[in-house]
Amino acid sequence: MAQLPALVDGVERLTDMMQAPPDAFVQARGIGKRFGALTALRDVDIDIRAGEVLALLGDNGAGKTTFVKVLAGAHVPSDGTLRIGGDTVRFASPRDAADHGVATIYQELALSENLKVAENIFLGHELVRPVLGVPFLDRAAMRARVRVLLGELDAHIPDIEAPVGSLSGGQRQAVAIARALNLDARLIIMDEPTAALAVAETRKVLNLTRRLAESGRAVVIVSHNIADVFEVADRMIVFRRGRKIAERKRAETDPDEIVALITGAHPDARVADQP
């Protein structure tokens, strides 16, 4: 009998797949990643669609961060193929990923805190007017664009000349998101976006996350906070021991089931426990 829910789930997933639009922005197939003898990721298939927020869940070391780093160009996968926007890609660096419209906002690592707001938003992608090949900064144009971006995000940052290190956690997330928007990102990956944020700031960041999806971008969030995930995500994928063990739409699951999947108490989680 234990196989029955798995079977039902399998059929559901099959119908989901058939209903799913064929043009998911990201199509990851059979992604694996080994570090020497350690297998961090095994045979992961994931579709990420424009206009939705996808949450990646799992315990520490379950593989969600490794998968995100593959998407972000920080890890080259050992197996599998990655298609983004219809092209098969092989990212050698985060810069490659950025050039394909993938922006990643790492927890605590997204910004250079010694630099100003505008410098962070444009770092590596500055607006320049080259003179004899020397990339002179077009500072007026960048300041104007920063005001537009922060205005769109409804982010209240009083002094855009201030170093990012002097901003609150929520303001930093807004700057990091403005940076992703400025890069014209079509997939925005947020690693623990609400960790270390005050309640009111968490609310703002979650609203921002929804708005990004509603504007037609694909959004992936990695989070330990089940309440935040249920508030913002359309779909959830649970990782365990380097495998994807479950995929659920928000309307078809509840926090208890997700927690059971993460901790291994759920029958579906046993897939990952086989050798």
Partner: protein, 315 residues
């Protein structure tokens, strides 16, 4: 990029320079003359140039302790170019070009060898010193013509050309730091190299370029050395790495990078040279000069630790 505390540091240093000038002028009648002021500035040329490169490297979280040997090698090359009667324009380019190559070597070892900059450049220091020994063969390079000396000491409206070249180098660095992508990229790497890479910066290129620029400045310092002293001894540049690091730290560019102060470095070099000149004129043996440099460095670093503890303790 310079924050409030940086400005405070500049003012403190400027005040220290002024105080030292008054003190030495009281103690020695020879100190407060126009001629001696010109000498202090002229003695600062090489250190200003080398410390400028060191400032860029340290803002990036790197360091180069082989700078003295690079100045030595390039000074010898410049001297030999001078003896070979090459056109003066070419003679002046030999040093910076060779320095840039040596700086690039150091950068390559650090970047691709993944060796910490202080270790890599300490190793290269030994190699370059051996080069100096092999070329000089235990002799001095001396009896050089005064052609370069005339260039450096030529005055435009009373300002020596040497000082103008130094000012031009700092001005160019300021423009690159404040008006081009180089400044934010350098400081982002200095703040956190891995993070800069994740943010998509061409970290390797910026690091190599900075090592090369520092090498070129050491090469220019080698040209100035020949112009001013017209000889090269085996011990050329033995202490200048310590002096440069001291001047940069005095100036407020932290040793772990992420922040930069060009004004601070200018004043740090000036303070060192005023102290060295003043102490010599009041009769302190020149052996004590490195002690003064070292003591100043230790004093400033320990004062910072104490201040930081006081601040975090209060917070």
């Amino acid at each position: 990029m310079d924050d409030q505390s940086g400005v405070g540091r500049d003012l403190t240093l400027a005040a220290a320079c002024v105080a030292a000038v008054f003190l030495f002028a009281l103690l020695s009648p020879a100190f407060g003359t126009a001629g001696n002021a010109a000498t202090v500035l002229r003695n600062g040329y090489e250190l200003w140039l080398i410390a400028l490169g060191m400032t860029l490297l340290m803002a990036m979280g790197a360091i180069d302790v082989s700078v003295g040997a690079v100045m030595g090698v390039t000074a010898i090359l410049t001297g030999q170019a001078l003896l070979a009667d090459l056109p003066l324009g070419v003679v002046m380019l030999v040093g910076p070009a060779a320095g840039a190559m040596l700086g690039l070597c150091a950068g390559a070892v650090v970047v691709w060898g993944r060796i910490p900059a202080i270790v890599a450049t300490l190793g290269l220091f030994g190699v370059f010193r051996m080069l100096i020994f092999l070329v000089l063969g235990g002799q001095w390079l001396s009896g050089l013509p005064a052609d370069l000396t005339r260039v450096v000491d030529w005055r435009a409206a009373g300002v020596p050309a040497g000082l103008l070249i130094v000012a031009l180098a700092y001005g160019a660095a300021w423009v690159f730091l404040r008006r081009t992508t180089y400044g934010p990229h350098l400081l982002a790497i200095g703040f956190d190299e891995d993070r800069a890479r994740l943010m998509g910066l061409a970290v390797t290129r910026v690091r190599l370029a900075t090592f090369a620029a520092s090498g070129a400045l050491c090469g220019l310092a080698g040209v100035f050395y020949i112009a001013i002293y017209r000889n090269v001894s085996m011990t050329i540049g033995a202490d200048i790495a310590l002096e440069a690091v001291a001047a940069v730290i005095l100036g407020g560019t932290p040793i772990f990078g992420g922040r930069i102060s060009l004004v601070g470095t200018v004043l740090g070099v000036l303070l060192l040279r005023i102290l060295q000149n003043g102490l010599l004129l009041i009769g302190v043996p020149s052996l004590w000069q490195t002690v003064v440099t070292g003591a100043l460095l230790l004093g400033v670093l320990s004062a910072e630790v104490v201040l930081r503890r006081a601040r975090t303790g209060a917070a």
